[in-house]
Amino acid sequence: MNDRIARSLPEPVVPEPDPGRPNTRAFPNRPPTPAALAIKHLKSHRATSAFTLVAIALSCVLVTAVVSMGAAMADAIQQRGFIQYGHSAHAHFQKLTPSEAQAVSSHPLAASYGKTRFVGLDTAAIAHTPIAAKTMDADAAKYTLNPLVAGRLPQAEDEVAVQSWVLEDLGLPVELGQRINLNLEVQGKQHALSLKVTGLTGASKTRSQYGFALVSEQLADNLLTGVDPAETRANGTNTGMTELYVMLDAPTSRLQSAFDKLVSDTGIDVELTNSSVNQAYLESVAVEAIAAMGAGLALMAACGYLLIRNIMHISVAQDIRRFGLLKAIGATRKQIGRIVRFQALVLCVIGIPLGVALGWAAALWLTPVLMSSLAAGSDYGVVAVPWWALAASAVLSLLTVLVSCASPARVAGRTSPVEAARFSGIALPRRSTRRGTNAPSVGRLASANLFRARSKTVVSLVSVCVGLVLFSVVFAVSGGIDAASTVKNQIISDYVVSSEEWFDTTQFYWEPTNVLTEDVADAVKALPAVEDAAGVYYKREDTSVLYGFDDGWLDVLEKAVVKGTFDRQKFLTGDYAVIVNAAMPSIAGAGAAQQTEPWNVGNKVELHPQSTAGKTYEVMAAVDYDALAPLSAHGVSMNNAIVPASEMRGGDAELMMLGVFASPSAELEAALDTLAATVDGLQARSRADYLEETQGMIQQLVVVGGALSLMVLAVGLLNFATTTTTGIMSRRRELAMLQAVGMSPRQCKAMLTLEGLSFVGLCLVFFATVGTLAGFGVVSLLSQANGVFRYQFSALPLLATAAPLLLLGAALPRVVYRTVSREPVVTRLRQIE
């Protein structure tokens, strides 16, 4: 037969080369590099390449979002810490003599510093707010968060720079060139000064108990003539003392040791000079926060890893014959692995910048939402994602991609040239589990197919389930926040009337504003529906805060007792006081240290409820701080005493807030709002307002958590989509064979649909069991830490996700099948033969 064929063929004719015509055909003069082969592969498998690109970008979005949110939050917490501790420098030295200041500032560990010198106080110019006169250089102004916003710092003796609100409170226009009159007391001597405003600084009034008047060195030298800093320090005052705000030449983790070295080198007495490292730097790197961010990051990176790995495996399977061929002609494992990695790296060039940009945008959107839910009502200002966070995200994403390529590269490199032709990416089962002569149904075929590509199916299953479990946890946590008990910690009465400043819990110091007067209180009491209006009086003493409680609060007080006994009759005689237990967890360090010996049940303490005249009270009981939190001023970290309101009314104490007890009605609310509108700075809030705020916070938590878990879920679904698509594609010939032996297209679609639905069904079972347990576990943990959490089962997240997932599980295989079945059965049967 071969002979016959040979005979029938014409003699081969080799064309004579034409000497007049140069060979115009361009042969490649270089062998193809791994890079060229990788790009060729990407071009010839556009769909897989697009999937891989999306997978890389999505993984990068997840990683970037978590890193950026973590970094932005750490930054915001640090900014908040700066405000809380009053400065942004690494270390603060409060009471230095000029020679000590010289020693500190010239020490090599002091990278830069700002310097101020305290001159004296004017306590009369503005009510309740003393003005401190200081010298201050530009760096110190910056570190004390009181930067110059207009004009310049004072130079001449009669020049001054002040905060804008100081001018407002003095009744002057906020303009440069104004003259202010100050009566400074400098070590017992009064100095009447008239100073010209050359600069305005930015710190708001609520940032500190003091206003600042920044004066020139020349004026300070004049006023401080004859003052010996060492002597004033020994007397416990500040006059003439130098303060240094120092940036240390050390990384954040070693600030404390650098500080200790500087102190020991210069011989500074930390206690005497009241010097310390800025806690804000130490707090922003809290272990818990790092652990939480690390866990989130690990989860996101793992999700990305699973997705990219799966897709790269599919990509390798598609090209396995070519890898076999390369192997046959002498490519090493390493070279083939390089081709696989290069495919991913080429896609990284687009995918990672895209992912970083999207992740950054997501973080900018989500961080403020998340932070406001973590600390309700707080305004953290502008959220900034530091550049290093974006760079780190890019590097981390790249690492994830490289690690994800390891296993596919190994598979490609191990390809045997002989076996490559048979490899279809689907592992063959080793053992059959069925017996008997039952004819296989469509259902049996589907179930046998579900785990055919076992590792890919398991990976898809895991990554979908991770998203679903996260989703479940987010819903359990947000649904587990008991809004009513949260509100109970914020408001005790039905309405509260007070100054806007008091309602603003973001401010660390609340200082009397004289907005809520006795007249206002009387007007509230006179409103028709009001059953009772109970006031809390407030007065700040040197080392303590004194509260005066109206009778309406005595029940609350009695319930909050943790030590001693509360006797209402005795308390109302005005000879007894109740103290607030200082063991406040949030500020335990500062609070506990200041609770000194006379402040204990059974002891006598001297308080000044009326003007400066002291009165001795016996402490009858101690109460829990948390129970009284809705009735206290902010930032309480010292000794707190409570006496009957009658002890304080009419003195120099101020009515801080008024709790209104009444059955809520629209009329009453309108009446209170009308009243509040007539007094500048007065505000009335109802329990419903607090409830609304809390619910808003819960909603925001759902938005952030939901967005993150949806991103993770999207990764899982992408995994499912690629696995399903490539699974059906690689089985096109088998499907054709099934049709040849009598499977109708309808049966074929039913089988594929069943496969998809079984997958989704497994996910949903996982969601219902593990997801529910995880949600319950997390809420239980949270409820141990915070009483406002209570687990409540809700089928809503399951039901909400079930419908779209089932739809996808049913629709995707049909869509892919439609593409596959475009080719006639006969054509598909012939393929790969």
């Binding site: 296989p440 469509v442 109708s744 049966q747 006969v826």
Partner: protein, 230 residues
């Protein structure tokens, strides 16, 4: 006269199949008229690209002709809708492919029973065991295709083709993936089954030696019958 004598098991009239158009027109089949009697064992031979596989696909209702008709047991396939053709295939035609085409994750028994299952019926157990026994598969029921030799796999494929007791068995190069000895055994099996169960069998091959065992040899060249037309 019996019904089968009245209608031959297989008959084609002016069967034509063209692929492409214009200059690229390929006449895979160009007016083929054949008749195959019930119970006949026919070998179709021809060179690669002669159109023999196309003929087999037409006979089995896998592909539709450009023109002409195919009759199986007197029924014209061209008049059937797709779904009817599918049901026709699984009840009346048994396919044996060159590459066995077994489902890798179903065991031997399940593979054999696949067409029965797709038809939503139960297996005719006595018939099934006769087939399995005749093919020497009775002990392999729970094995998976991946653990079988090529000859065993092709015997499973034959068993699958016979499980539904079809009127015709169509075998497309059943020995193409097998060595000579195993190939001869498989053809012998096909021949045995043809005698034992009386199914009309059409086997494609390019090997003249293998074709010699058939009742009749039809040779196709360039889409036309060159030899063996009746």
């Amino acid at each position: 006269m019996t019904a089968t004598e009245e209608h031959p098991a297989l008959r084609t009239g002016g069967l034509t199949k063209h692929y492409g158009s214009g200059e690229a027109l390929v006449r895979a089949l160009d007016g083929v008229d054949i008749e195959i009697a019930s119970g006949e064992f026919v070998a179709v031979v021809g060179t690669s690209g002669s159109g023999k596989s196309t003929l087999l696909h037409m006979l089995g209702g896998l592909d539709r002709p450009t023109s002409g008709q195919v009759f199986v047991a007197g029924k014209e396939l061209g008049r059937m809708k797709d779904d009817e053709l599918t049901v026709f295939r699984r009840r009346s035609v048994g396919f044996v492919f060159q590459a066995y085409n077994l489902v890798p994750n179903l065991n031997v028994m399940e593979n054999v029973l696949l067409p029965v299952g797709l038809d939503g019926r139960k297996a005719d157990e006595p018939h099934l065991y006769r087939v399995l026994e005749a093919l020497g598969l009775e002990d392999l029921g729970e094995r998976l295709p991946g653990n079988l030799s090529g000859g065993q796999q092709q015997r499973v494929a034959i068993a699958r083709a016979l499980a539904n007791q079809p009127e015709i068995v169509l075998a497309d190069e059943p020995t193409g993936n097998l060595d000579t000895k195993t190939g001869s055994e498989v053809v012998a099996m096909l021949r045995l089954m043809n005698r034992e169960f009386g199914q009309t069998t059409v086997m494609i091959t390019h090997n003249d030696d293998i074709a010699k065992g058939a009742d009749r040899v039809i040779r196709i060249e360039d889409g036309r019958i060159a030899e063996g037309q009746r």
